[in-house]
Structures are given as structure tokens and as C-alpha cells.
Symmetry: D2
Subunit: 348 residues, 4 copies
């Protein structure tokens, strides 16, 4: 059994991770921590664990925890992980960081968008890898510190990756109009996520300034082989879970949609968790909710010669905890789907 | 592997059953049927099954199906099952009926409330049992036709059963004020469940006339040892899943709440799927959603000497498909929790 | 024009009051105040007022404000109003208090349920009246301090008042099972009203302990001519607005439902804002949302000889701001419906 | 008083129109019609009209109705209006058509996108005008047949109109990513708008094929002075009301955002119902719900030199019934805001 710690288990990503780890056949959860709920039982915060978990929050002492477990999941606010993880710690326990600190390899871009100093450039450069499994599967196992991708990021990159290196797209034309359920905003109280303030309303937020922008750009630039700058606009949708990313890509040549399908099909041919939908079908977040799938629909607007790719994920699963488990499976040589085979639950 | 057929797999209970059966380690789904979707792929109706199921709807021919499977689940409108199930069929395959036809042993009460003729009184009398596992676990295995309880019914009976035979309750005082999510109304189109007609509104419906009333009364009467007549008021709540039953029972003596707790604790001491909450805690449907649990909270209003018991279930799981699987586990001698161990998924 | 101040305009009741006052033909809003948003423009907090209001929050100085206006609406947490209102203030401006301080005439009951000392017993005894317009219309005009009723309270009392003095009801049998939208919990941040914590779930809360209980009891006792003790159970429903109260009353005699209808019809014959629904029809909160109506449906469960009366209101209008305006209209000799004639807006 | 008929009053746009007409000081509703509810009382279909309306559905006989009223509102499926309106009818009563038949002046485009024959080309060419009040206010009064714009259309055009003739925009770059509440899909039953099918999920639909596309293009082409082809992608959002349009326009020169603001400010300087939000503020549909406003937020993504304009309306008011009343006000020489001054109701 893999001995596991979850540092920051009180947030929604942490909680979803705990749920997935409990149903994982090879995992033993040894420690959960939280900054402000020390000694509180987990099931008193999250009633779904009553009769299922005797876990109690412990102190966030990663230096100590790393000696007792095989892997530590970090679900912390940005800026924290890079200040507590050390070379020594990762020599004892592998780390999967669900936060932002190790996602962007260009330090100045990270520091500029996050408006903070990075805590450990060496770890970032030498020991970490971006854990989008479908892209980096082959190399993840070589690293001890996995930067688990963001939710919007996962959905956006998976929607666009297959065509990013194609000559027939206008690489300056990318627009991602993304929509997220409210769990994406976390469990911290804020007037914008007070029930009566966001229920029955939709808005765009952080227009042209959301921090997932540079993360998407960096990964797509790697594939494209050139610097990608794109427009990313997040919207808050009155629902609990789910992300939908509507992606617009201008084409520079006339392409048949079947050729696009073939490119995507080939690209994802070995990816269990990506489902390319049949022509004419576009994703709905309900069909991925509760699962680790990313559904992708492809449309070609022949009037404007524009590709419209729509992606959907469960933001807490493929966009956070599920992908973290998928990374753990890779790290420990398990089948990538272990513990992640839930079919989406519907209607829920 | 248990070979399974699901007759009526196009509705929500049927679909949830398919999901649970796919994640059951001992089940092989052989046949699914539907009246009006013959030859349609299941994943074209329910997108969550894309890449997960190759099932295609077949014709509802139970006489033929029973030869190829070990058990048939029926998820049909009331009045249908009692006209298609026969002695011959149940001699070949066990039946778990998620409909109402075999739930009420008193034929005249059934025919009166359901305003229809019952199709097979012999089967009802000789071969069927009411499949509320927590009450009838010991006898279910002796029967070949299991009447899977209704959703409101399961929640209401589990909330009240432990005290129904106590002398300190006023057996004429029972009131169940129940609230259900919209999946309870099924997938058939109706103006009352059109999104914009039921979203953001609550109402009582079928006041003093809902068909789950006699089902609750019959089961509670058995425990009480006398005829119980109670008030049952269902309400439609703008959410997908979940039932909450707020039950009022006048007491005829002064009882300490701890004594009530002890009675419930003893009654459910061997029931994995019933969770008696700590004093002062009442159920919320979110903590059972996606799970087979029934959560129960107990309150004593000393001002009026009234017990207020609140129960919560996921109407599609413990209130339908989950309990059906639980019954199957009992029938086939499996651990009752097999395939039903999901922790509630939250927030969803 | 009636010069008006709204003290505590930052909460939801205050905001709804501002909206109603703006559309009132006889009102001029002079001052709005808030504890923590001094000098902030109202339309920067509530975007619906952009281009419609130049109001800016001022300090809560009621001693000063009362000199400049004809009436002050107070929308404050309990315990505050009774400490700031004085005989001098009400000699200068009338007061309608949307809070709880002057709703309960029995001081010890108030102090016991609210766990606080009342600030001004003299005002309570000599100068205030309970402002449920349909009950106290004739006397409201004689007072300078109007205690605007609570939301659950208004709905519950209007549902039960007509029969409270009848000999055919069991006065010890009353149960009110009430359901409220989340605006009832206000705008203050709390984990229980965080979107993802209350969306798609229902729960009972403050079982046998909600503070609207004694308020309902006191008013019904007055009508009944004896002390009423009842059960009141509030539930939180995942929707923005609306209250539904399902009320159970055991009958001690056989009564025809038409007789009950006649009693209600007679009782409310002059009440514009009460709508007695046709037999067989029960209220839905959607049909009152945005209006000042209270809809009432009457059911007789002949099996248990129990009356089931269902009432529905918009908690922010008839349950708060609308009734406050209705009280103002009475105080100033206007037609009671002035500024309150909005038909419910649907679907919303 | 203006004598009014509403033909097709059973749908949501028709119902919202009835509500607005009842609160209009100069209107007398004489007739309402419906295809399938003849002789049914309006308040039995829509409970918000109980005690407020004695209207009963009559037959759709426009030839007869036009003799008794001053104006007829048509709220009918596309293809119907153009076959029932005649020169004779509009010589007797003015017509405001909320449907699509007279919105597109290019007959072949209409017939191609709507896949139907147009019923009356002469009326279309000679007697009708596109009733987007902010654009055509000056000319509307000269016509007897007003084509009331679509909901998505109104929001999209108002968001883009001010800059469409500017040389600094790339007129081939327009993308409108629009999100609508479910009332936009109407009251007709369909599995896609069954509560449990669309609640808690988001999807794109009719990608690159929605019929509002040519309507938006035609109007913007007029302003631009050249043929505009754009991408329009609608999404279904789990909420009752509201449309948000996120519009992307590439710039061909470096422009300061203040210059954009000045252009919009000047363009809408006389438009009561357009609210240009302060810099840094983007619309939320909650702030326009229940009102006739269109809120507009402007953002300049300097990284990609792209303008992101976000517009929000209440789809049933400014997107349908409210704009229809606004057109009526213009036709009858009333102040454009008469009966439309409601401040948005919140939280609702």
C-alpha cells in the first residue's frame, strides 16, 4: 500500500482527493493536515465521511510527515508550497502539488502573474515537472515533484494540444472562453460566492488577467514550438462543478473537419481519459461530472474558417484531485486508471 | 459473475442502476431494454457511458430474457410488472422490481390508491417480499421476487421504524413532511418539471394523496402491531437529487432523548447503511448524495413533547438503484455492501 | 412626499426596501445608512441601482436623522434597535423596525429566546405595535413604532389566523413545517450559505429552537384566546427567495372543507394581499415572487381528520420590505397597496 | 388608453409582455390569444395573475382582432406571423412582432437559415422596420410593422454597435460567445430543458449554426458599411433568466481604452436603457434581471490587442417583452421609458 499524506485537506480539492484516495485499492491515508482545524475530525467538517473515516486534522509539518509516507499531496494557496518543500523532503517522499508554485517554469512569468517571489527556484528547475498526464506521461516518473495542472488549464490544453503544432492554424488567433462552476472558487468565504450573490447569474471575471493564462500559454508554446499568446476569459456559472472551455482557432488553410478529427484521434489514441465525441456532438459538463474524463467536441465554422473546439471536465477531478491521483499512479507504476474508473454520476 | 438484465433502463432509476452495476465486481450486464429506444446505443442517450458501455437497448421480452440471466431488474411504470412477471419467469431468474406493483400486500389498498387492477395476486401473496433490507434482510433470500421500496418510503420508514412499537409514542400522531429533488419525478417530460417551471420555487404536491402513503403505513403497521394511519406530504425542491423526511411523533410520556438514541442505536447496530448522527446534528441531503446511506437526526421538542426525526437519502440510490443492488447482494449471498461503498460526492 | 430614511440599507431586506421605495409614488429617500460602508455609493454595492440612485451610505445617527425625515425604517440585527430608538426619536419620526426587538410583547420570552437584554421596555409596552397589517390594520395608525413581523412569522400566522379561535381545532396539535430560500439567511458570509455548501441540498435547521417560534405563538395565542405552543421547523431550500409554510392542524370534529374555505374567505375578505387559492390548488413560491401577496391553499386529510394549510410568500417582500411599505402606507393614510402592486415576475 | 392585443400569450415572452402591459399606465389589454388554450383563464396557467387578471384566451383571429385594438403584439413561432399579417391588418392596427419573420431584410438569408418560405415579402420590404430602439429610434415611428429583435441579437448588437464603423477594428475577427438562461428556450417541453437534464450543467449548442447569427450580422453590416461575418456561439446556463455576451474584436491599431469608452459614451449618450459600466467593472446578469437595461463592460487585452466587450440583458425584457413595449412607446409618442422603469430585482 502507498502511504499517503494530504496537506491542506480542508479545501474542496483536498476533500475530493481524500474521497478518491479512499476508493483507491493501493492507498493508505496516513495523515491529513490543515492550518486552522487541528485536532478536528474530518467527518465533522465533511459529513460524507461519517462512519467512513476516523481521520483527524494534524499540523502541517511536512518535514516530519515526509518520513512516514511515500507521497505527499499539497493542496495549498499559491506561494506556500515553494516555501516548505525542500530537496530533503522530496528525497524522502514524492510530492504532488495541486497548487500553482511549480506549474510555470519561467520564473519571471510566475512572479509577475502571481505577484510574489518564488520560494525555491532550484526545485522548480531541477526536480519538478508539469503533471498533465496526457502530455508528459513518459517523463513524470522521473521526477519527485509533480506540479498538478490547474483546472481551466487542463481543460484548455487538452482541447488545443493536438493542433498546436499544425501549420494550418493561425497561432496568434487563439481565444479560450471558459466557464466554471463555483467549486472552482474554493471553500473560502467571499461575497462573490455567497449563494444569493452568484446563484441565477453569470458573469465574466478576471478578464484578460486570470493566472491560468500563462500556464496555458507555456504548455501550448512548447507544443507549438513558438511563443503563444492567447486570450483567456473565465466565467462563473451558477452550478457546483464542471468546466467548459470554448476554444476558437482561426485556420489559415481550408481543412476538412475529418482531417481535424483524425489529428485528434491519433493524438489521444492511448488516452483513456480523453473522449473525442462524435461529429455534431458537443460536451456537456453533466456527462463528465464525478469522473476523470475530458470530453472534446470539434466544430468547423466554414463561414469564417474557424475551428471551435469545446472541452469539458470535472474541475475537481480531472481538473484537480483526479489528475493528482493519475499522477500518483504513474509515479508508482500503477495502471493510470486505478481508482479513477468512476462513470460520471447523473443527474447530480 | 451474476448475469443481469435491466428492463426499463432508460429512466433515471434504471440509469443509476446501470452505473452501480458497472462498478459492481460480481456483475455482468447482459441485457438492457426499453419500450421506445430499441437498438439505440445506451451512450447516445446517456453521454456518461461513452467509451464505457457498448450496451444497446433491446426489446422488453422478459420471457426470453429470463433464460439468459440470473436476475432481472424491472424499472417500469406501475401496473406493468405485475402483468409480465410469471411463476415461470421467476423460476428461471430472480426479479427485483423497482416499481410499485409488489410493494403493498393488501391488494385492495394497492388497487384503490393506484386506481388499477393488480395483474398477479398469486405472485404477490406467495412469491414476493418487501425489500427494505434493514427490516427484512433475514427473509429476502427466501424469495424470488423482491419489491424494491419507493424512495420517500425508504427514507420515511427508516426514520420511524425503531420507535414504532414503543408504548410511549402516540401512534395516531404521525406526520411526515417530505422534500424531494426533481429526479424523483423521473425523466418523462412534464410542465411541472420543465426547468423554468420548478427551478427557484418550492411547492407541496399530492397533499394527502401521494401513493407512497399506504406503503409507509403498511410497513409501519407491521412493526407497530396495529393499523397506522399517518399524514404524508411531499414537496418538490429545486435540486436534482435527495430526499429529506421531517417526521413528527407526539410522545405520551416523558422520555429522555438519550433513551431514544439508545433505541435507534440498538435497532440499527448491524446496519452499515444507516448513520445515526450525533445529538444536535441533523441530516443534509448533500452528505448522502451519491451514496447508499440513510442519515438520521433525532430531536426532542420538550416544549411540546414531540419527537422530530429527520431522515435523508439519495433518492436514486438508497431510494431506488442502490437498494436494488443491496437486495441483489442479499439474494446472491454477497456482502451487502458490495459495489455500494461509494462515499457521497461533494460538492456536486 | 414622505421623507424616508433607511437605517441598515446594506442587507437584503434593506435593499429590497430601497427598491420598493424608489417605485413608490409618494416617497423621497433622504438618507441611507450602514455600519461599515460609510461614504460608499449604493450602486457600487448593488449594481441594479446604477444610473438610478445617487445615494451614498451615511453614518447610523438616528438622533440626527429623525429631524430630517418623516419615517425611519430600521433593518438591523436584533438587539440594536431597542438600544437606539428613544421616545424623543419617535416624537420626531415614525419608526418601522424590520428587526425583532419590538415584535414580542412578553419581555421575558424575548430575552430568553434571543439571549439578550431588551433595551427599552417602555417603548415596547407603550409605543409599539405588531405590524402584521392583516391582523392589526385598525390600530397600526395609532402607534409610532411598528414592529414589522418576521418572514416565517408572516407566512405562518396568515396561514393559521382564521381558524385559531375555532372550537373544532385541537389547539395543542399545531405543526408548522416551513421552507425558506437562502435570502432568509441574509448577506453576511457564513459557510452554511456559501454557494457550494447549500446549493443542491436541503436541511432542517434550528429544529425546535428557531426564534420565530415565540413570535408566531404570541400572535396566534391572542386570536385563540389561550396559550398556544406549537412546533416550528425551518428548512433551508436551495433557491434565492420564497417561503412555504406547511401547517398541520388536527380537527376535533368532522368539518366539511367548504366550511373551512368560508371561514378563510370571510376572514380575508378585505385583504388585497391574501389570495385564497381554489380548492385543489396549493401555493408555489414562484407565483408570489416579486409581489406582496400571501397565497394560501387549504387541504383536508379526511383519513386523519387533519387540516393541511399551505402558505407562500416572498420572504423579502411580504416577509420584510413589502410589509414595511404596507405599514408605512397605513401610517400615512395612503391606500395600503400603493407602490406594492407588482405582479409576481416569472420565471425568475 | 392604447388598446392592445397579445397574440400568443401563453409563452414566456408573451407572459412577460402581459406583466409589463398591466403595469403600463397607458395600456388597456383587450384580447389575449393562444392556439391551444382557448377559453382557459390566464391565471389558471400563470398563477401570478390570480386576483389580478380576468383575461381568458381567445382564438388567434388577427383579422377580427385588428378592428378592436390599436396595436397587436405577436409572440409566435417563426413562419407564422408572415402568413397571417396583411396590408389590411396593419392599416387597422400597428403590429409589433416578437418573432423572427420580419427581422432579416435579405429574404434569401432568412429562408436559408430558417429553412422555410417567407410568407409576405411585400410587407417585409415596404412596411417593416427592425425595432432595435437604440439604433432605429428615429424611424420606427414611420412604420406599422415592427420586427422586435431577438434576445441574443439585442445583447450582441448593443455590445458591438458603437465600434462597428471604426477603422481600428479587424472586421473579420468578431467572435460572440453568448450565454443564456433557460427561459430563452421557451416553455415548450423538451428533454434538453427538463430540469434534471440542464440543471447543474453547461453546454454550447447550435455551434456555428444559430439563427440569430444572420440577424446580428445584418445589423452590424449596416453600421460597418460592409458585409460582416462573425462567429456566434450560444451556451445554455442553468438559470432562469439573463443573457451574457462576451464579444472579442481584434484591433488593428494601438488604441487607448479611454478612447473606446469615449466612443461608447458618445454613442449611447441619449440611451436610458444602456448602462456603460465603469472601467474594470463587467456586467453580471443579476444586475439587469427584471429590468430593461443593457449593461456593457469594456476591456482591452493589451497583450493581444483585443477588445473584449461584455454585454448583459434580461432576455425576456430588453431581449423580448421590454423592448416590445419600448417600441410601442415610440410608436405612440410616449416617453420611451414609460412602464419600463423597474429597477432590477435582487436577489431573485
Amino acid at each position: 500500500m502507498i502511504k499517503v499524506a494530504v496537506v491542506g485537506a480542508s479545501g474542496y480539492a483536498g476533500q475530493e482527493l481524500i474521497r478518491l484516495l479512499y476508493q483507491h485499492p493501493n492507498v493508505d491515508i496516513k495523515v491529513i493536515t490543515s492550518r486552522s482545524n487541528i485536532n478536528e475530525r474530518y467527518d465533522s467538517m465533511y459529513g460524507n465521511y461519517i462512519k467512513r473515516s476516523n481521520l483527524t486534522f494534524e499540523v502541517n509539518d511536512v518535514d516530519k510527515i515526509c518520513k512516514d509516507v511515500d507521497i505527499i499531496f499539497l493542496a495549498l494557496p499559491h506561494g506556500v508550497a515553494s516555501n516548505i518543500v525542500t530537496k530533503d523532503i522530496i528525497s524522502k517522499a514524492k510530492i504532488i502539488d495541486l497548487g500553482a508554485d511549480f506549474r510555470i517554469s519561467d520564473l519571471s512569468i510566475y512572479e509577475n502573474w502571481y505577484n510574489t517571489k518564488h520560494g525555491n527556484e532550484t526545485l522548480l528547475k531541477e526536480d519538478s515537472i508539469y503533471g498533465l498526464c496526457e502530455l508528459n506521461r513518459e517523463n513524470i516518473g522521473k521526477y519527485k515533484l509533480i506540479a498538478n495542472p490547474g483546472c481551466y488549464t487542463t481543460c484548455s490544453i487538452l482541447s488545443l494540444a493536438p493542433i498546436m503544432d499544425k501549420s494550418f492554424i493561425d497561432k496568434k488567433s487563439l481565444i479560450i472562453d471558459a466557464k466554471s462552476g463555483v467549486t472552482g472558487a474554493g471553500r473560502s468565504l467571499d461575497i462573490s460566492t455567497h449563494f444569493t450573490e452568484c446563484n441565477e447569474s453569470i458573469k465574466a471575471y478576471k478578464v484578460a488577467s486570470h493566472r491560468h493564462t500563462p500556464e496555458i500559454e507555456e504548455q501550448l508554446s512548447v507544443i507549438a514550438g513558438e511563443d503563444i499568446h492567447l486570450i483567456f476569459t473565465p466565467h462563473l456559472v451558477p452550478m457546483n462543478r464542471g468546466i467548459l472551455a470554448t476554444c476558437y482557432i482561426r485556420l489559415t488553410e481550408d481543412i476538412h473537419i475529418d482531417d481535424i478529427y483524425n489529428i485528434y484521434r491519433e493524438f489521444y489514441k492511448d488516452d483513456y481519459f480523453v473522449r473525442l465525441l462524435n461529429k455534431g456532438i458537443n460536451p456537456e459538463t453533466k456527462w463528465v461530472k464525478g469522473s476523470n474524463y475530458c470530453d472534446i467536441g470539434i466544430n468547423l465554422d466554414s463561414r469564417t474558417n474557424t475551428l471551435i473546439v469545446v472541452g469539458a471536465i470535472d474541475n475537481l477531478i480531472k481538473g484537480a484531485a483526479g489528475q493528482a491521483v493519475q499522477n500518483m499512479n504513474i509515479l508508482f507504476g500503477l495502471d493510470e486508471t486505478t481508482g479513477l474508473e468512476d462513470i460520471a454520476i447523473f443527474p447530480v
